[in-house]
């Protein structure tokens, strides 16, 4: 058999045959699947990801080690970790922005998530006008944050705003109207109220989708076993919603860490930088103060905080995907 083959395929074609074997091997590997096989399909997206996400991240970290005004005429001067030292020990606004970002994330996990879940449960019942309510609650989620900011800024206007008029009518305070955005202690929470208004409907839609996956058989059998509404919710609905809850919480964290537009539109970080957050402070240092070193140091801190919060989710979701194979 070997001899016959050798006769039919002359010696000079050995290299070609070897190449064919390699080609076959590649084809086989592609057919088999795996990273190499998926690379040609991933390449365009990967290239865009590297150019638009990874490279700017590396550039931001690099710039955080330099002093630079952002002008091409001004040379970048390597200063090591001086920007970080200045940020942590001398920047009068940095720790306020850290505190506000943390408070914002915690409140975001608690309030709009719970509100979204409650609305979803309510609108999962056979109510009259259910679809109308679903649409009404969802609409704020599709509005541009800057439009929401403008709208709420007018609502908070101390001279013409609806809250001011209500407080005057009800004789709350000294009668001059409430000035929520003017109070450094309250401003960040006043902006947060607008965030809740915008994001709760989005969470509601995700929870509604999750609720459609709760087994009706399980719900019925729980009720047949005598469980009341709370017991059904706690022992059947909530466990079934676990993947949805994780997604909602992670999306909320991501949304809340990068909050920018609402703050810019409503307070600009004020009054007296009291509503400043990390994303806006990074922008302010770079583009308004022309201190790109310090601005990118803030961006790097934000990157680390984001990774600390999001990487566990990525590991969890990757593990879940592996388990499902």
């Amino acid at each position: 058999m070997t001899k016959l083959t050798d006769t039919r395929f002359p010696a000079q074609n050995a290299a070609q045959r070897s190449g064919t074997r390699q080609k076959k091997s590649l084809v086989q590997r592609i057919a088999k699947g795996g990273f190499i096989a998926s690379l040609p399909f991933l390449a365009p997206a990967l290239a865009a990801y590297i150019v638009f996400v990874i490279a700017p991240m590396i550039s931001a970290v690099r710039l955080s080690l330099y002093r630079w005004s952002g002008y091409n005429t001004d040379p970048q001067v390597f200063v090591g970790f001086k920007n970080y030292v200045r940020l942590f020990t001398q920047d009068p606004v940095f720790w306020t922005s850290v505190q506000n970002t943390v408070v914002w994330v915690i409140l975001s996990i608690l309030i709009p998530t719970t509100l979204g879940l409650l609305m979803a449960i309510a609108l999962n019942q056979p109510l009259i006008g259910r679809n109308l309510f679903r649409s009404v609650f969802y609409i704020p989620g599709v509005l541009a944050p800057i439009a929401v900011a403008n709208m709420w800024r007018w609502m908070y206007n101390p001279n013409y705003g609806v809250f001011s008029e209500i407080s005057k009518t009800l004789h709350i305070g000294d009668g001059s109207g409430v000035t929520l955005l003017s109070d450094p202690k309250v401003a960040i929470y006043a902006v947060f109220a607008a965030f809740v208004w915008q994001i709760a409907g989005l969470n509601m839609v995700l929870f509604l989708a999750g609720l459609q996956g709760v087994s009706k058989e399980l719900l019925e059998s729980a009720r047949l076993d005598g469980a009341n509404n709370w017991q059904v919710f706690k022992n059947v609905t909530l466990p079934a919603l676990r993947p949805t809850i994780v997604i909602v919480v992670v999306l909320t964290i991501v949304h809340s860490i990068k909050v920018f537009d609402l703050i810019v539109g409503m307070t600009g970080g004020g009054p007296a930088q009291s509503s400043q957050v990390l994303a806006l402070w990074s922008y302010t240092q770079s583009f308004l103060n022309h201190d790109f070193g310090l601005g990118n140091a803030v961006a790097t801190v934000l990157l680390v905080v984001t990774l600390v919060l999001v990487v566990p989710y990525l590991i969890w979701s990757a593990k879940g995907a592996d388990d499902n194979r």
């Binding site: 005004s69 005429t73 206007n157 001279n159 001059s176 004020g270 009054p271 007296a272």
Partner: protein, 402 residues
Amino acid sequence: MRRGGGGSNAGGKTTVEWWTLNLSAPAANQAIDKVIADFQKANPDITIKRTARATDAHKDSLRTALGTSAAPDIYDYWAGPGLGGELVKANASADLTDYYKQYHWDERFSSAALAPVTQYGGYQGVPWKLNGESIYYNKKLFTQAGITDVPKTLDEFTADAKKLKDSGVTPIEFGGTVNWHVMRILDTFLEGRCGSDTFDKLVTKKADWSQESCVTAAFSDLQTWSKDYFNPGFIGINNDESSALFFGGKAAMALEGDWFNRTVVGQKMNPDDVGVFTLPTGTNRLYGFEQAQYISKDSKNKDAAAKFLDYFTSTEVQQQTQGVFAVQSVNKDVKADPAKATSLDKAVDTVFNSTKGLYMNNDQNLSQSETREYWRIQNLVATGGMDPKDAGAQMQKFLSSE
């Protein structure tokens, strides 16, 4: 990246790229277009290509373009150390000493107009617009409050504010979200309480903010005024929203620049019902700021750019456009036409003529980061979040950390 910015130079025809800030008044834009058209008619070998942008877009464009081939030949910018000065420091602006000699610009501009462009050594930029700020007041509301004469000192100013408040109106309006609006009155208190010399030393970091008792006095004034005499909730609204209180007769005073003359008319107020008085600091200096036209350091068309700026700031052109960009021209030979001037224009003209020297808005004097800290402290004091006694020390701490 290739250096050497500016417009093109092809076929014996030079194109000068000129980047300016947007001019809101249609008359101002028409005036600029006419200046360009007339210049090009007289100089057919030079084309002026003007690109106007909003404030932030203008700043962003300059930051990315200066030092590259995309840089303009001429750019319009504020002349204070915190703005135009930062670009000079960043090596973006050309020293125009030779052109000042060639065109005798030293003799053309007033000393107040020249001061901001000569402060960095040499001649950085050509002055084109000097705006002065003062107090605009509603004459009827002043009369109702029993005020018969305008205040000459800060103490009289405060006493009048009390009278206005007692008569049931908001004494003065400010919009706090933009920071620089409230800053104007803090600058006024600093100039008034510290005097010109100390004010200048403070903003040039030659005096210690924590050691000057006048700094505490100025911040105390700010706290008193913001608590008792500003419109309630001022810090949560912007200057346009607060100006509506003045136009609507709900606030008696506004601290504005000479551009406000046109706004008053545009808002259907009778200019005869509005008066103007110099900020009562007691130093007799004009409060204001200047815009200059800078030539990029890497411009290949410096000669053509200088020729255009010479034409733009000439007595002939400035006389034609008098009152369009500012009440007074930077060209000292240009005189206002009394026939065209409103009573408000004449009042502002009196403010300009009765003062000597200039103290600039502190967002012009300080760097951007220093300005932001100044605003932070200002707003904390204004909202009761900081004791005025701590304000100077806080400011000095920041300045020392740089």
